[in-house]
């Protein structure tokens, strides 16, 4: 459906996209995540043929999409896009949604029927006659979504579709996306800042950073095997610790972490200064005797901070260095943890990731590139 290679985009000398390669199949749901300013919107605009890339090849729906305007128009007619800040026309809700259908010269009855069902789909049934500009933020967002859906595109681009939506509406929209892809074979590309949303509905996730995909793979892979340190930080590896590589053998590294020895699985050979990373939920917490069970990496420490996150709790354990662990509230109650509690924290070698520690790489974040 979409074959993009080496797409670049430069605005007045500033490079925003820097050689994006992407290939998406029919019916796939592809999620783009990445920090603000990474180029997500820019990429979607190029794929929806609203902007031309400064450089690169682009094939969409089997046609070369870098050519004449008439070809681009033909392709564009088979796609639609929900913008990050959707424009709502100052007309009725009905006229807003019917817009794309009228452009296609569809008969009035069919327009009415389709608009009605699109509005139902996004949870705004019966609002046809309302003035669109008077809707609430979330209602407008859903209106814009209905407007993009109603033309039944073969490819659908959604730039942060669940912004402004309440949890229930967000679920409805997510379900709709899944249904479209499954039942109608609609190809969907969407962006989000909610990784779990991506995980829930996308077939693959691409992490866009500094105008380039750092990693494209299935959600679990990205959540647990980030390609590099920045991705790890981005996907929420709460524990990122400086360590030194002592030895490496058959994919297992022995590291020195502030004097403690730890084992980590590491695909690539490691050496010198590294970062070792693991998720807070990979940390098991126990009290009392040293656990005998499998995890070879065990640290003893004190609880120095507890912060709630819905039904979960993040606790910070100081054991020379700080480790963040995540528990269910129930587990915490059962362990009777409190600030100052002495605990054991253990992490499996397979949950640890090791990345080369190129100087200040750990500090580099998306927003600081300006």
């Amino acid at each position: 459906m979409i074959r993009a290679s080496c797409i670049s985009k430069t605005y007045r000398g500033r490079t925003v996209l820097d050689g994006v390669d992407l290939s998406i199949e029919r019916g796939e749901i592809f999620c783009i995540v990445g920090p603000n300013g990474a180029g997500k919107t820019t990429l979607l605009r190029i794929l929806d043929l609203l902007d031309r890339p400064s450089y690169g090849l682009l094939q969409i729906l089997g046609e070369d999409a870098t050519g004449s305007e008439s070809v681009r128009f033909r392709i564009r007619r088979r796609m639609s896009m929900l913008f990050q800040r959707p424009v709502i026309f100052d007309t009725s809700v009905f006229d807003n949604v019917a817009c794309g259908l009228k452009f296609r010269k569809m008969g009035e009855d069919e327009v009415r029927g389709r608009v009605k069902s699109a509005l139902r789909e996004v949870g705004l049934p019966g609002l046809e006659r309302r003035r669109a500009k008077e809707l609430s933020g979330g209602e407008m967002q859903r209106l814009a979504l209905a407007r993009a859906l109603v033309i039944e595109p073969e490819i659908l681009f959604l730039d942060e579709p669940t912004t402004f939506l309440d949890p229930e509406s967000a679920n409805i929209v997510n379900d709709t996306m899944v249904r479209l892809s499954r039942d109608r074979g609609t190809t969907i590309l969407f962006t989000t800042h909610d990784l779990y949303e991506g995980e829930r509905i996308a077939d693959r996730i691409g992490v866009l950073m500094d105008g380039r995909f750092s990693q494209i793979s299935e959600a679990l892979e990205i959540l647990h095997h980030p390609a590099d340190l920045r991705v790890a930080k981005f996907v929420g590896f709460e524990n990122i610790l400086r360590a030194r590589c002592l030895s490496w053998e058959a994919g297992e590294a022995l590291l020195d972490l502030e004097g403690q020895k730890i084992y980590a699985i590491s695909g690539g050979r490691c050496d010198g200064d590294v970062f070792v990373c693991f998720r807070a939920e990979s940390v098991s917490v126990g009290v009392g005797e040293e656990p005998i069970a499998s995890p070879r990496n065990k640290f003893r420490g004190t609880v120095t901070r507890i912060s709630a996150f819905g039904p979960f709790v993040y606790i910070t354990i100081h054991c020379g260095f700080d480790i963040v662990a995540m528990l269910t509230r129930r587990a915490m109650d059962e362990l009777m943890l409190d600030l100052g509690s002495e605990v054991w924290a253990s992490v499996k070698a397979t949950s640890m990731r090791v990345f080369a520690g190129a100087g200040d790489a750990a500090k580099k974040t998306g927003t600081e590139k300006h």
Partner: protein, 230 residues
């Protein structure tokens, strides 16, 4: 200041008695200027849209020239059309000099820069996002223009109102091209100018009031049309 009061009284008298000559020139004024406005809309809306949409070298210059032509004196516009339509000119054979048709041409030319320039301005008031949205919804270039024009409808209407105002109130071009011939090409402004030149100030003012009432009528109709359409 008596003349102004007398002008009002005279205006009322002319309207109430439906003075046939005044009626005739009023209708002629209205028809000529309305046709000129419609013609210039027919040219300037597509032209303005094109100029707004298309990027080409020298676009800024073209727009600058259009804005400069806001200052085109009516006499010069009239003279220009006169030279074209005069018996000795290239289009003399059309025999349009001293006819209402010739006046329509002159007024159209006169207001074209204004309506075109203001169309561009009206469209520029609509952000780029609107256009992107329309394109991504599958609009052809033509459809997207129509929709943008729809969003800018109030501004466009007021541009046309302004054009109409300029057309119906101008006298230079109408005088030169029309000749102010009684019963044929005399319109309100040329009549006003004639009455002023013979010192008939109160009649001038009366005719001016009638002209403004006419403009008010056009305004109201447009407003009603707008509401009705809405």
């Amino acid at each position: 200041m008596n003349e102004i009061v007398e002008g009002f009284i005279e205006a009322i008298r002319l309207i109430v008695t439906l003075d046939p000559e005044v009626l005739e020139i009023t209708v002629r004024s209205l028809v000529i200027s309305l046709i000129a406005t419609v013609l210039s809309a027919a040219v300037s809306i597509p032209l303005g849209s094109l100029l707004y949409l298309r990027e080409f070298p020298g676009k800024g210059a073209v727009i600058g020239v259009i804005q400069t032509l806001y200052s085109l004196p009516t006499v010069i516009a009239g003279l220009f059309i006169f030279l074209l339509l005069s018996n000795a000119g290239p289009f003399g054979f059309l025999r349009l000099l001293f006819t209402p048709a010739g006046m329509v041409i002159a007024q159209t030319v006169l207001i074209l820069p204004i309506t075109t320039g203001l169309t561009i301005a009206a469209l520029s008031g609509i952000g780029r996002e609107v256009r992107d949205t329309l394109l991504s919804l599958g609009a052809t270039e033509y459809q997207s223009i129509l929709a943008i024009l729809g969003e800018a409808r109030f501004a466009i209407c007021s541009a046309l109102l302004l054009g109409f105002g300029r057309a119906i109130s101008e006298v230079g071009a109408a005088m030169i091209v029309g000749g102010n011939i009684r019963g044929q090409t005399r319109i309100l402004t040329t009549a006003i100018s004639l009455e002023t030149s013979i010192g008939n100030f109160s009649l001038s003012i009366a005719l001016g009031i009638i002209l403004l009432l006419l403009a008010l009528g056009v305004n109201l109709s447009l407003a009603l049309l707008g509401r009705w359409h809405h």
